[in-house]
Symmetry: C2
Subunit: 212 residues, 2 copies
């Protein structure tokens, strides 16, 4: 049976996993979960039984259901090691994980849908502040680690986190001027097929008006 990915076109966490699946050449069925419609389909009893965290992405694979994007990506890395998404050198692996964790734990959770819902009018300003503060640190780190991509010249887990986070920044109208390294790497990655075909503008659940 093909793996089943529960995904929402605009969810940056879902996009990370879509990129990993594409890079590793794993075909899958996609089940859209609309985080807005009906008050959020992730809160349905059916989805809660699948993922008690009530979040996308979730991936049914090899007889189990995984959630949390990096846990899913690490599982794919261990079971489908080629092409690898972590460098061989432990110090470089640590750099990849630092950047990925900085985005996944330090930026995205503070500007996700469930937090922003509670911010009312301040929503936009809150999201901008979280992303700006995170990107200031990220820009400095990347100046030490980057080659063509976040760490050297190989696509890694860090890159899978970077591109969806930049898309969020653009959606929240963050001025990207102060982040030339982030901008350059993001642009290079968006040229790659695995990032193109998994883009939020090209998903089965992308609304017509947002389609590329």
């Amino acid at each position: 049976m093909e793996p089943i990915l529960y995904s929402y076109f605009r969810s940056s966490c879902s996009w990370r996993v879509r990129i990993a699946l594409a890079l590793k050449g794993i075909s899958y069925d996609l089940v859209p979960v609309n985080l807005i419609k009906d008050g959020g389909q992730q809160f349905s009893a059916e989805f809660k039984a699948l993922n008690p965290m009530q979040q996308v992405p979730a991936l049914k694979i090899d007889g189990i259901t995984l959630c949390q994007s990096l846990a899913i990506i690490n599982y794919l890395e261990e079971t489908h090691p080629n092409p690898r998404l972590l460098p061989q050198d432990p110090k470089k692996r640590a750099q990849v994980r630092m950047i990925a964790d900085h985005i996944v734990s330090g930026i995205q959770p503070l500007q996700n849908l469930s937090v922003l819902k509670q911010m009312g009018e301040k929503k936009m300003e809150w999201a901008q502040n979280c992303i700006t503060s995170g990107f200031q640190a990220l820009e400095q780190i990347l100046q030490h680690t980057a080659g063509c991509y976040c760490v050297g010249d190989e696509v890694s887990m860090a890159d899978l986190c970077l591109v969806p986070q930049v898309a969020n920044a653009e959606r929240f109208k963050v001025d990207m001027g102060p982040y030339p390294t982030i901008t350059r790497i993001n642009k290079a990655l968006l040229e790659l097929e695995a990032f193109k075909i998994t883009h939020p503008s090209r998903q089965p659940d992308t609304p017509a008006e947002l389609r590329a």
Copy 2:
């Protein structure tokens, strides 16, 4: 040269790393970074040069400086594999990572100091809501994965995240009644030497009135 850990006694992210170092028998020097005093010593120019993310923990080891608790713990796991903090079976490894990421990305960032500072009077209520909502999911997950500890009967990265998060819950007076599995595992882990000696009440920077 011994590794240097930059830590704050009450930081749950620092505690995760202290437990990993203790379990793996790695001795280190501890440099306290007071997140409250002087408006937060993590914001000093000196510390920012060390860690642009301006957060603890940071670990100087093997000629590099690492930050982000799970990235640090993964580096220690790869360079000091015994005792292991990830099971051998990929599916069980994925369960460990799911639980760790759920805490590290899904709960802690929403109730950390920098977010709570912005919540004013609502601080306590906000923290309680984040932790309660995260623990409801965690309790369900653990009912499937737990043995003595979070995943089976071996201490794993998930456990290193659980105990400091429960300490935060207690500090924010979360009612732990609905979470018997979390409570049982937390209690079992607190019996272990590595969790005892790294406890916030026994750190060099623990204020006298909070010492055990």
